[in-house]
């Protein structure tokens, strides 16, 4: 296991340039520029409807962006076609999106574990079906990942028998088993009972110690502050303010950011 954080090589592993997403006539993302370097931990915060989950979901193409670019490790995703009037449309090939998703993992608000598979089978699934690893090797790897999230004694239990917090830790182990270069968390504690939030947050923080590159959408501002190297405050589909966690939480520059941050008891004066 890699105990030393990966050094920041400077070049971003994941970028978005002018990223836009509309649902019908509703413009949810209005041109988002984002740079994620290796080892970065970015918290995306903002009110509901600000587009923060949509932004995250566009980065691994759970949603297809309607404009702009996503660039993974220097490589632009999708095939751009420029029309006569200069407008650009991008088409995405399923094969390319699959390749992105192998490298950019995701943990969902609703866990999305596979209920017909045991815990260890859930974690093995990507290794066996996507990465074509032999079953025995995959099982060993899955057991390691489950032990890492504190569920080494639950290998053969079905998700239905686990608490929400345990299910989310299995989902984290499932994503980790693929050894993604970037890991996305979409409100990972929002559907949990309050007493189960802590175990999931501790698991996520432990990944930070390994130097893993992560993006997190969350309502838990206190946690975002402890977790993040950088913070993005989204409002109405644009990046309203961005900076280090210290800058955005302790010294926000804009009124709207200040008002949003102050809603959390941890940061109100």
């Amino acid at each position: 296991m890699n105990d030393t954080p990966t050094p920041d090589t400077g070049a971003p592993i994941l970028r978005s340039v002018g990223l836009r997403k509309s649902f019908g006539s509703l413009d949810v993302l209005k041109g988002i520029d984002l740079d994620v370097k290796r080892g970065d931990r970015i918290a995306i915060i903002g009110g509901s409807g600000s587009g923060k989950s949509t932004l995250l979901r566009c980065l691994n193409f759970m949603e297809r962006p309607t404009g702009g670019q996503v660039i993974l490790d220097g490589e632009r995703i999708g095939d751009a076609r420029v029309a006569k009037d200069g407008s650009e449309t991008i088409t995405y090939r399923e094969r390319d999106l699959m390749a992105v998703r192998k490298r950019v993992g995701m943990v969902f608000q609703q866990f999305n574990l596979f209920p017909h598979m045991s815990t260890v089978e859930n974690v093995m699934e990507g290794l066996v079906t996507v990465l074509r690893r032999p079953k025995a090797e995959a099982r060993e790897r899955a057991a390691q990942e489950l032990a890492r999230v504190g569920l080494g004694d639950k290998l053969d239990v079905y998700p239905g028998r686990l608490s929400g917090g345990q299910q989310q830790r299995v989902a984290i182990a499932r994503a980790l088993a693929m050894d993604p270069e970037v890991l996305l968390f979409d409100e990972p504690t929002s559907s949990l009972d309050p007493e189960l939030v802590g175990e999931v947050l501790r698991t996520i923080l432990s990944l930070a110690e390994d130097g893993r590159t992560m993006l997190l959408v969350t309502h838990e501002l206190g946690f975002a502050y402890r977790f993040a190297t950088h913070v993005i405050y989204l409002s109405d589909g644009v990046v309203h303010e961005t900076g280090t966690a210290e800058e955005v939480f302790r010294n926000p520059q804009r009124d709207k950011t200040r008002a949003f941050i102050a809603r959390s008891s941890e940061f109100s004066l």
Binding site: M62, M98, R101, N112, F114, P115, H116, G126, T129, A175
Partner: protein, 221 residues
């Protein structure tokens, strides 16, 4: 009023004819179910296609069979299809075509209903790992959907077995047709149809017990 004297013995004397009919019923039902599952898979694929024209074709197919009576299909295949397609169809072929095309529509709906009952989150959980659409379907969606499809699948298969009695109208020798023959030979329609009901009942009851057993097996996992 004169007391009716029941005499099952007269009818039972013709048991080889009834047995032959039972065989006829089982044969066309089994064939229709197998062809119906294959056809149903195809129609369900059309129904869930990303391409609108294919989806429309699938929908028209299903709606046609859902909104027209089974006996019309039997007559049409037997009398009209030979004229339209210039082919010669015996009662057996016509009955199987009618029954299989109809069951394709119904099985398609069972398959579609099962697959669409699996939430979007399962698709996302699978594709987020890097699975293709087909891999997600095979590994994640279908295994879960299959459990939910057992009960409606069995229900539909029973409908098909009962609908197979319409083949009697084409003079195909299944259970009902053979019963009609026995009734007219013996002049004992009350006994004959009572016996037919009992045979159908036992056949379906036996099958539903087997289906229940299979279903319990599947749910245990």
């Amino acid at each position: 009023m004169q007391q009716y004297e029941w005499d099952f013995g007269a009818v039972l004397a013709y048991w080889p004819m009834l047995l032959q009919g039972l065989w006829g019923t089982v044969a066309i039902s089994v064939l229709a179910i197998i062809l119906g599952i294959l056809g149903g898979g195809l129609v369900a694929t059309l129904r869930m296609s990303r391409h609108t024209p294919l989806r429309v074709i699938g929908t028209i197919y299903v709606e046609f069979y859902r909104n027209t009576p089974g006996i019309v299909h039997f007559f049409w295949v037997y009398y009209a299809l030979p004229v339209v397609a210039n082919v010669n169809l015996g009662p057996l072929e016509a009955a199987i075509i009618a029954l299989a095309t109809q069951s394709s529509a119904f099985y398609a709906e069972v398959l579609r209903g099962g697959i669409q009952s699996i939430g979007k989150g399962q698709w996302e959980g699978a594709t987020a790992l890097g699975m293709s659409h087909t891999e997600a379907l095979r590994r994640i969606i279908v295994p879960q959907a299959a459990r939910r499809m057992v009960a409606p699948f069995v229900e539909r298969s029973f409908e098909i077995i009962k609908t197979s009695s319409l083949a009697s109208t084409l003079a195909y020798g299944e259970l009902l047709y053979q019963g009609m023959q026995v009734a007219s030979i013996t002049y004992r329609p009350l006994e004959t149809y009572t016996l037919l009901a009992l045979i159908y009942f036992l056949l379906l009851y036996l099958l539903s017990s087997l289906a229940k057993l299979a279903e319990d097996r599947l749910q245990e996992v």
